[in-house]
Assembly symmetry: C2
Homo-oligomer: 382 residues x 2
């Protein structure tokens, strides 16, 4: 297996981007990455996207995006794993380069969610249609049950949940690409509208448009494109039961644990080697469960992490320095790539006001559904 | 890159399968493959599917299907490239095994099209939404324009088109898994209802439910599962402009040519080495254009091929011995895998009444949209 590096990145601002179509968003992000590497042709493109068929009536995004980029002809494929579509696309691109089949590959993600579709219902098609969505439950409800289970098992409080949002908005205020570039106070989060008890509006990631792209190549070719390549040392993808009701423990995300174990093993690192992480905080409880399943904190200790500053910029293990899904925004298909970009920029020393000092290993964890799929990548500065 | 083999296969009958859900179909096909290889666990699953989100309100098929198979935990990802989703999933699985990341992988495809959805409109989301589908054109219209261009350029006749259907129904009558197991006469095809001039009902593949799965592993591990592995020698994926109006030549499928060139090069073969081929006959004109672009017949000579028996069982280069999409059925996400299964069974000497004698190299070509994406795999009996 060849060593694979990220050599360039591009992304749109995340937000309600009424002036840009699905294809505009993709082209803006991919073009930024191509310009950074000074190339105008690649061997293959992977497009992470959850539901453009439902959102804007467009499947078949591989050729559509290759064509829009002026590259009709090149191999191009869409990859879908609900909100983990970006991470899954990155993994497919990684395997393509690692295998030796392709030398220069775009791994990307895009979603256009604000064009008037019934967003919550469409997102619910990432749950088990016959056993969950059909009966009326949507994701705020599913994650609220996870939150209640975590509170009951470990004494996690509503204030613990709120601190995750406060931290991530504080980080996101420093990210020029974030949807919400403002801080929120603990009291604001605690007083925001109840969506699904105990989850309030400011515990929920927003509906967003956006795209992100990274350029991958074998490490031994990276110097053609950049003087600061970041190596993908580990890649792990795992699943859990589709329906939340089938889990052995509502408060623990088995797919996250499994995907992390695979990625750590491939990278030959332990959780304690990781200097920063982007994790899938679609709801504040998700960040708490993810950092436990990733082994970044002990099981049951996730609730304290944001409150005590452990996961803040400057803390022991900074989590979601980009602002996370909560503040940066969550165009579902693009999120996994945007996470990889934050880690790439941090390790390459390009993270501006959010820079974590002396980071060598970083991690990105992207999740689909109520944790039915998870993808983890471990990156290293070389 | 490791050598990769197919060691087992399974598929449902194709047709209007009212009693089976999307998940039932997948499980039936995958279970058949697993039983054939006597295994109950794999490292990864790739699910080719075009539009379950639109057809049955279900995205996130990776974990859904892993779970339904009793394998919650394993890596599982959906891959989409419209009607080439199966071929694209096979390629991702191939790269996964070739890279060394996984040892035993299911490449599968599934589609549930008959559950009352607006099928033609959903299929049109594989075209360019903003520049084609929005204006009302659907696939019969797009392929009719390709047919007219081919007729004008090469003198291809309506009877030439009809012979493709006659041949494929003759083949499909011998396939126990085919949707239409009956022969049709030339006069029947010529007299069938006009759908989009010059394409009549019996030039069009049907709407189908179905699933198909193959099991891949490194060639040097194949003896654990079978005594007749079939090697994937070449894999090529390519694209063309999304909108038909942008093509340099309406009557020639550039993506098919490009994907074939890549696959032939990897396999170190020429078109003349191929003993049988499954090609994407979503409409009869598509088979004509595909065999030209694959180099199986000369450019402009595709129209003669079925009429003169060149592509019939017993002919110089048998094409679509399975019955093709026309007679076997076309559950869009499953088609690419079903094609690979026909070639696998032919090369392994398991094709029953349809057996081609002494075939060593076989080819499967799967296409999305009006030829905006194409995937070609070359297989060898070893």
């Amino acid at each position: 297996m060849r060593e694979v590096a990220i050599v360039a990145a591009g992304m749109t601002r995340f937000g309600e981007l009424w002036e840009s179509s699905l294809r505009d968003l993709f082209v803006e992000a991919a073009d930024e990455a191509l310009r950074a590497a000074k190339v105008d042709r690649v061997d293959a493109i992977y497009v992470g996207n959850m539901a453009a068929g439902q959102f804007v009536g467009q499947e078949h995004l591989g050729p559509l995006m290759a064509d829009a980029l002026g590259m009709a002809g090149v191999a191009a494929t869409r990859v879908e794993s609900a909100c983990a579509s970006g991470g899954a696309a990155l993994r497919c691109a990684f395997l393509d380069v690692a295998s030796g089949a392709s030398d220069l590959v775009i791994a990307s993600g895009v979603e256009k969610m604000t064009d008037g579709a019934d967003t919550t219902a469409i997102l619910a098609t990432a749950a088990d249609q016959e056993r969950e969505a059909y009966h009326g439950i949507t994701f705020p409800g599913l994650y609220a049950m996870i939150a209640r289970a975590h509170m009951k098992a470990f004494g996690t409080t509503e204030e613990d949940l709120a601190w995750v949002s406060v931290k991530n908005h504080r980080h996101g205020a420093r990210n020029p690409k974030a949807q919400f570039r403002r801080e929120v106070k603990l009291e604001e989060v605690m007083a925001s509208t109840m969506v699904s008890d105990p989850l309030r509006l400011l515990h929920c990631s927003p509906v967003s448009d956006g795209a992100a792209a990274v350029l991958l190549c074998p490490l031994d070719q990276a110097s053609k494109y950049t003087d600061r390549p970041i190596v993908i040392r580990g890649s792990g993808l795992a699943t859990a039961t589709m329906a939340l009701a089938d889990r052995r423990d509502l408060a623990f995300l088995d797919a996250v644990r499994l995907s992390a174990e695979k990625a750590y093993k491939m990278a030959k690192v332990n959780p304690s080697d990781i200097h920063l992480a982007e994790v899938h905080d679609c709801f504040s409880i998700a960040e708490i469960c993810c950092i436990e399943a990733l082994g970044l904190v002990e099981k049951g200790q996730g609730g304290r992490a944001a409150r005590e500053g452990i996961t803040a910029l400057g803390g022991k293990i900074p989590v979601n320095t980009s602002g996370g899904l909560k503040s940066k925004g969550h165009p579902v298909g693009a999120t996994g790539i945007a996470q990889a970009i934050e880690v790439y920029e941090q390790l390459a020393g390009k993270a501006g006001d959010r820079q974590v000092a002396k980071a060598r290993f970083g991690l990105a964890q992207n999740m689909g559904g109520s944790g039915a799929s998870s993808v983890v990548h471990v990156f290293e500065r070389v």
